[in-house]
Symmetry: C2
Subunit: 114 residues, 2 copies
Amino acid sequence: MEKIVEQTLLYDFYGELLTEHQRRIYEDVVLNDYSLSEVAEDLEISRQGVHDNVKRCGKILQDYEDKLHLVEKFVSIKEKIHRIRELTGHCEAMSKQELVTEVEHISQEILEEL
Amino acid sequence: MEKIVEQTLLYDFYGELLTEHQRRIYEDVVLNDYSLSEVAEDLEISRQGVHDNVKRCGKILQDYEDKLHLVEKFVSIKEKIHRIRELTGHCEAMSKQELVTEVEHISQEILEEL
């Protein structure tokens, strides 16, 4: 997965577990792509302070994922829903019964992950 | 939702964020339904200590859910997957196109939650 996509997902899932201060810094630097210097000036802290904070937040978010694996689960479910939609979007050559069998198979896989 | 189902779900999702000691107590009392006295004796702590621990764990798990809403999200997705399976399991009276439309509608709803 691309690093920015992964960082965004981790933040979407676990961002609420950071402090407001941490969220602000992480959003500005990682999601909104401001430079460390810009954020440092804006928050009146050192550039190094911003850098350390972003690094610490990244580690906190990754630690939650390493324990809970919810982003991983979510990505896997999303991929399977897209497979169902691939089927329904391109089923001209399939019979209704074939479609039913395929959708049931994938939806069963999803239930096993939930 | 039934309380035990809710407690089990919260524990499934966030249990890894408890300490090993907390997990042991919570599992024994809430999931395996041992009495406070049994667990107290087993772990050589007071009955009150077991009680307080279970209560504290319940609050920790609920606090995570209040912030992250991931159990809520996954329950909602699970319910929609079951709706898809209801459709595929009882689609004798539907045309293939009707089935496709319904499955696409529900799967779109799921993607919007993911």
